[in-house]
Symmetry: C2
Subunit: 232 residues, 2 copies
DNA sequence: ACAAGAAATTAGGTGGCCCTAAATATGAAG
DNA sequence: CTTCATATTTAGGGCCACCTAATTTCTTGT
């Protein structure tokens, strides 16, 4: 019997499960209360209360004072939300002229309101895309996701060519900045210089001036190493 | 000071205000508790409680034991929801292959989740439509709606030609039936026979057999009288 | 004028989801 | 092994939006 039967699937619970999933509630260490509270912008006691209910409903296992891990049911719900979110971001970007820095908030609300049918219709008119506008892989309706192994831009060696493959969609400011310096998913660049002590990394995108990037930013950019300047 | 400032604009309150508007909370008699309860599928005491809060927030005036009427603020919110709903139904129908009998439920949920920006983008790609797929007029962003003066099919005389202009979107079963007998918005037909005592009305659509329609159904179909068989 | 019936409100209660303040468990350092 | 900082949970409360049962108000027929 599927725990999804409980009509406990509200906007809040969906966002909790999605957040827990993306904090790694899948494998490895249990996800801690404070991380969830931080991700969702709620107080820790609110998380404690919600975790109790989600555990009762069978979406996760809770080890008190340790953290939580998703059950199969919980993971199923989380992946469904991730698919919804990413299909929505893709659709809004391709069909309604949204920029990659403004789709996230819209998708964050819509993901709870639309039917599976609508999501699949959108996927269909897009030709079943595999990646969202930020380069994140879109889970299949069956709940399979591609495992990406990108290297952070901050770890590429001086002189090396790379291609930007994936960027976090959480901070619009950051996305606008990246676009302003010519960095989008698929952009090729060469690493010109790396300052020590977690200093900035300087890169050059074809046809542009060298551009220094702060270390924190450079660590958040998922890249693929490339042999040459040539485009994909 | 605009009462919209109160972040009392939740899914429930939006649906209440929209329902009150469409029950005539605009002009004429005050809308009664039972009518609202019936429209929204909740118990009467739930409505009493909500009306108190909506009145406090300035969206309507409540005369106890009599009913409610929308204030300007309330009407503004209601018309905004009506616009959203109808733009959504139009978009889903034109761009995502929905049938006119399945859009309503989807729009009913989405109308609370999307931004004004998304609605206006949808309106734009559609070319700012004036009517939704059921023939209902779409309010402008400023909150103006066309006043339609349709005549119920049940009131057309025998022998008279008419054109179907508007159908309620609330009952998918009814919409499927209408499509199955060739009736869509814009369809021309001739009245063949009318039984007395609120009996059925028989019409003929070009290229089809005469079709009897129950009186209740015939009263719910908004039509325009036409001189000839010729299409619009 | 009054009693019955219908409609609405009040009373009292539930669950969801959030909060702050207080108590408690954990783990690292001394 | 104790102490202390930090993380977590518990306690207690608020608001929203629903419910059923009881009460009150309105209307209408006699
Ligand atoms: Mn996103
Ligand atoms: Mn969300
Ligand atoms: Mn509708
Ligand atoms: Mn609605």
């Amino acid at each position: 019997m599927n725990a999804v039967g409980s009509r406990l699937l509200t906007r809040s619970t969906e966002d909790y499960l999605k957040a827990i999933y993306s904090l790694g509630g899948d494998a490895g260490l249990p996800v801690q209360t404070a991380a969830i509270a931080d991700a969702l912008g709620v107080a820790a006691p609110s998380v404690s209360g919600m975790l109790r209910r989600l555990a009762e409903a069978g979406f996760l296992e809770h080890i008190p004072y340790r953290g939580v891990r998703l059950t199969d049911d919980g993971r199923r719900v989380a992946l469904r939300m991730v698919r919804r979110h990413r299909i929505l971001e893709s659709y809004l970007t391709s069909k309604l002229g949204y920029d990659w820095d403004s789709v996230h908030d819209e998708a964050e609300r819509m993901e709870h309101a639309v039917s599976d049918d609508l999501i699949e219709r959108m996927a269909q008119v897009l030709g079943s895309p595999s990646y969202d506008p930020h380069g994140a892989p879109i889970p299949t309706p069956a709940g399979e996701v591609e495992e990406l192994k990108h290297v952070p831009l901050a770890e590429l060696g001086v002189g090396q060519w790379g291609e930007l493959r994936m960027v976090s969609d959480k901070d619009p400011e950051r996305l606008r900045f990246l676009k302003s310096v010519g960095l989008e998913v698929g952009t090729r660049f060469q690493v010109i210089e790396r300052q020590p002590f977690n200093g900035p990394v300087t890169i050059r995108v074809a046809g542009r001036q060298p551009q220094p990037l702060g270390n924190e930013l450079a660590r958040s950019l998922g890249c693929a190493a490339r042999e040459t300047e040539g485009a994909a």
